[in-house]
Amino acid sequence: MSRRVDWTVFVALFREEWRLHAELFGGRRFLLFPGLLAALSASAAVGLDATGTTPGEFVAGLHVFALVFGLYSGTAGFAGSDMLENVFGRLTLLLSSSTTLPLSRRRLLGTFLVKDALYYGGLFVLPMAVGIVPLVGASATAPLVVAELWLSLFLAFVAGMVVTVAAIALRTRGVPGWAIVAAAVLVAVAVWTTGGTRVLWHGLVSYDGSVGSAVVLAVSAVAVGSLALAGYDPSYSRPSRTASDRFARLEDALPTDEGGLIAKTLLDLARSSGGVVKPFVSAGILLALVAFLVGVVDSITGIEPSPGIFFGGVLGLTAFTTYNWLTQFDSVEEYLAYPVTVEAVFDAKRTAFVLVGAPTMAVPYLVAVVAFDATRLDALVGAFLLAGYSLYYYGLTVYVAGFSPNEFLFDAIRFGAFTVGVAVALVPTLIVGFVVVPPSAPVAAALGCAGLVFGGVGLALSSRAGPRWGRRYRSGRAESA
């Protein structure tokens, strides 16, 4: 492919990405999303500053977000996972054009990833960087500070992308998924135990370092990305898989499963890429991030939160990722060919959520309270919060986003409603978790009640979500909602 063709493909991919989002997320309403991100980032900066958090900690948190976002975005270009085939497979025409046009698939993917890096770097990472403005003030140097922070965040984002791309490239060369995960865990443990975390961190957060460290990170990212693309096997395709009949056995084992809807959801989850481990990985990543941030705050300020309250409140957020996994492999429209109501489909998802979500949240929570040495009362209150808040976050997600939490994530209005809903429960809890250490009996009782109340609200929201979305689907408005 010539450079001219590369440029043509790049522009077309960029335009397609924009149209994809504009179509999915309410036309030009999608433009609000970067503004909302900037507002959220700035609000977080102001709020954290008021609670004594330093600008350095705030910047560190932003880099963690950028890195994780990059890790996730790296999968998009390859559309190789089952979830991404579902989300993007029917929507991206250009990504599959190497089968119909004289274009190299490897080069097309490279162009796609460059496009993704610039697209998300502009629309999502830049608003994150703008959040620092309240901390530096509206001075003449503010644009320069924002630009430096953006560059640093962008490099962290790209680093995350190339790590994922490298893992996928290895996968196409026949390296088993479990071996890649095991290697990643081993590397993480080795870095942790040898004290390499600080070195790694300084390498990743070039905002605090020298120009040289930024150049090293940029060159490394380009080198790893290029190697990964060179190693990627475009002809890789998964052999067709067979399975023994498990539906009836699973359906019989469930205490309730009207119409087999729960069994179908659980089998889809278990057999898709990553199996039932996926929700645990999502929860594990959240646990690791929160534990890391708690460690950073503790090392700088000497303040350590009540681990039960803190982790109980935060880990409930895995309700969103768990529900997301449970809805990736079917659609409401699919069920409308059968004599089942939309309400029944939502009810089945809720039961599946409880079955999958309970262990998904309980395991990392237990790890956290043991690792951070929570008191019994703190651990008990945290467990109440975890159960109640997760049900609340679940109800909020289902009510706001219906059957498509992933697709609606970038809709500014829905995301805003979801964020406010989460903040109402989470922010006061986190403040209490930091201020009252360990929790007194009255505080514990109040938080326990909060867990019950929010759990009740979540139950009510999830019960209303079925009829709400049922009416939308029957009116034909759900697809464009």
């Binding site: 089952d82 085939e85 579902n86 029917r90 998964r238 067709s240 898989r241 067979t242 399975a243 023994s244 009949d245 498990r246 539906f247 009836a248 359906e251 119409g259 087999g260 809807l261 069994a263 179908k264 089998l267 889809d268 278990a270 057999r271 898709s272 990736q328 492999f329 079917d330 659609s331 429209e333 699919e334 409308l336 060919a337 059968y338 004599p339 089942v340 109501t341 689907y473 029957r474 009116s475 034909g476 464009s480």
Partner: protein, 252 residues
Amino acid sequence: MVAIRADGLEKSYGSVDALSGMRFSVSRGELFGFLGPNGAGKTTTIRVLTGQIVPDRGTATVLETDPVAEPIETRRRVGILPEQESPPSFLTPREYFEFVGKVRDLDSDRVTSRVETWADRLGFRSKLDTLHTDLSRGQQQKVMITQAFLHEPDVVFIDEPLANLDPLVQEQVKRFLVAYADDGNAVFVSTHNIDVAADVCTRVGIVADGRLVAERDLADGAEDGDSLLETFLTHVDDVDPRDVPAQMTGQP
């Protein structure tokens, strides 16, 4: 005896009028072809008649049920083969049919025997234990055809029945549809393939701009006149392809 009746159905999506007074009926024993170009309102009509969406105006009756008031009862009695591509399912066809049997409250032994019959008829017995997501599109279509007939419904709504099927299986499906209608069932076939409609249907309704603009009886002994293609072009588009300049058709 009328099995399907649509009376003045109207449905809009925002500023787009998908249905603008759709009116027709289909009797038992008929293989009714619903013929129209893309965007004519065919799929919306099926979705209204099967209770998936409600019309803005008009009424519908399917096997003496009202799909607006009692959508579940309507869908219990009919079979539906939707056109839209399904998301990837990780059930095998064997498990998927168990799921359909469970949803439709069918006896599991009956499901097993009917699946065997259909697997032999359409030639996918060797794929019964392969994950649905790993099947070819043609094999997936065979699975979807089977689920539509699994409960032997009196009325079947089929959107593009022959999509992705090889010619041999297309012939088998066409023959089956004719025989199924001959047994006193109503088969409603939505298609934009004129040859398919002309080949198997006893009657054809031509749809354009959200309403039925013409009907043709194609049953044995029906009066011959213009070809179905000519009738279709007359009602659907003012442009007759025979008027297209020769250089565009490649003819001298």
